[in-house]
């Protein structure tokens, strides 16, 4: 079997695709790339389908060795990319001959970078997805995060590009959009779930202050620190959680639920953060100031529709570059 040999890992690197859909009712969470757009960009640069699995690399980098000829692209949080010690640009398709060492450094801003390879990483799919959810022990390689020595299966390029020098196909930087404006990251949400069951005072405390992203943020949730929110709701019966839910545990410090969340929760949920702001939150770092902002359903739909349109336009532009080595 050929592929990518893991040489050295950092904080966390996992195999991710666009997630496991349709199993929440069985207690199996979605998983998937926290910043799906960045993974999709990397895939499109290579001419891959959007849902092929790549590697999500958190904060502190990853070193790999190619055991076959392959093509790769790195998108998402900006990080130094070295192929055999030589620095390369992110956001382009690169030809990498067998035996090369691929070093991804610490992210310079934001948190998650995405490495895709032509043809995708072909670990066995589980319930329709290759996404790793470590808590559930599902997906990726044996349900675990990458560790030194792992071999991630990748098919050898049938028709390797001539020459071994990386090809600069595309240099435009995509990561800038994850940076918050004015120092505070806006988290716009659609009120719902238990929102009708809490007092106006509780809603006011939620939106009238800024919170700080806690250092305990992970793929399950981003805890926010601020003045405690008192929902006045005590005993709740467990119910479904949502991707992007603002959940208020008894200590009053909100948790924004992300891709690896538990599928059920017993704490009040006051609304769901719109997808683009949730991704920005996931990419943000500890210490970042954020402010919650309730918005109407109609306004949220408009913002999300425009953003999705923007993403599609970007992806279509990448299609023209994908897989067409000069």
């Amino acid at each position: 079997m050929t592929g990518l040999r893991v040489v050295k890992t950092g904080l966390l690197a996992t195999v991710q695709d666009l997630g496991r859909i349709g199993y929440l009712g069985h207690g199996v969470t979605t998983g998937g790339a926290l910043d799906a757009f960045s993974l999709r960009c990397a895939n499109r640069l290579l001419g891959n389908a959007d849902n092929l699995a790549g590697i999500e690399i958190a904060l502190t980098g990853l070193t790999l060795m190619a055991t076959c000829n392959l093509q790769l692209a790195l998108c998402g949080a900006p990080a130094t990319l070295l192929i055999n010690g030589e620095q390369q640009f992110m956001d382009q398709a690169l030809y990498v001959p067998s035996g090369s060492t691929i070093t991804i450094g610490r992210t310079l801003t934001s948190t998650y970078s995405y490495l895709a390879v032509k043809g995708g990483i072909s670990t066995p799919p589980v319930l329709g997805s290759r996404s790793t959810v470590v808590r559930e022990g599902i997906g990726g390689l044996d349900g675990q995060a990458l560790k030194a020595g792992d071999l991630l299966p990748v098919a050898d390029l049938i028709d390797p590009t001539t020459g071994s020098a990386p090809k600069h196909l595309w240099r435009r930087q995509l990561h800038g959009k994850t940076d918050p404006q004015n120092g505070i990251l806006r988290l716009r949400f659609v009120p719902g779930l238990h929102y009708d069951d809490v007092t106006q005072n509780c809603r006011d405390t939620l939106c009238a202050q800024s919170f700080t992203i806690s250092g305990a943020a992970n793929r399950m949730a981003v805890p926010l620190n601020g003045n405690p929110i008192d929902t006045g709701l005590t005993k709740l019966w467990s119910e479904a959680t949502c991707l992007g839910s603002i959940q208020i545990p008894p200590d009053g410090q909100p948790l924004v639920l992300l891709n690896d969340r538990q599928t059920m929760g017993g704490y009040p949920q006051l609304g769901v953060i719109i997808s683009l702001d949730r991704v920005r939150l996931g990419q943000a770092r500890a210490g970042q100031q954020v402010q919650l902002e309730a918005m109407t359903l109609a306004a949220a739909e408009q913002v999300v529709w425009l953003h999705e349109h923007y993403e599609e336009t970007h992806l279509k532009a990448l299609d023209r570059l994908g897989g067409t080595a000069p």
């Binding site: 929440l24 069985h26 207690g27 559930e136 019966w237 949502c242 609304g271 949220a300």
Partner: protein
Amino acid sequence: MRWSYAGLTGIRLSYDDSPSPAVTASLLRLRDRLHTKYPKGLTDCVLGYRTLTLFFDPAALSRETLLAAIEALDDDLDAMSDFRQDSGQAVELPVWYAEESGQDLPAVAERSGLSVDAVIALHSSISYTAYATGFAPGFCYLGEVSEQLEMPRLRTPRRAVPPGSVAIADRQTAVYPSLSPGGWHLLGRCPLSLFDLEKSPPGLITVGDQVSFRPISRDEFLSLGGTL
């Protein structure tokens, strides 16, 4: 029944009644009808104790259409007076109840003022309703446990509860499908696999099922594939 938004692609339906087999049956009926009607549009339907959260693909199903369908079905459901359990199956789970397999059994007995045998008899004499699946893949919340066995969760959850562990907390009982942390009181172990990715559905128990426990010996536990 009330509804609220669960983001741009979700609707949460809830009853104000206390959880009961009747509430669950009603939610299941609603889920099944909606799912039959919109097999592609509904991506996930999750039952809670008294909620049904529906996630939809807006490209295949609009919120307006879904809400109109819910309203029409809700009127139908209210008109149906019999809350017959029609979607659940009966599941009998063998359990080896012993201190060796369920280390909290003596403490539960002491706390409830019953003998160990009486605790086992009480726990295995009831048919429980599977109210919800969550916490971990295939983990089903079953209720309700006899009032005599009601007890709060452990103050400090265990880091590792062995797979198959049968446990109680508050008035709920459950079987841990896989090795995980857990704060419930352990009474014994079931040798069967509760969650199998090769099967469809992957969970042995699904919401709405009627679950009962049958006490077995250590030998039977081992012969049924249980591991120590």
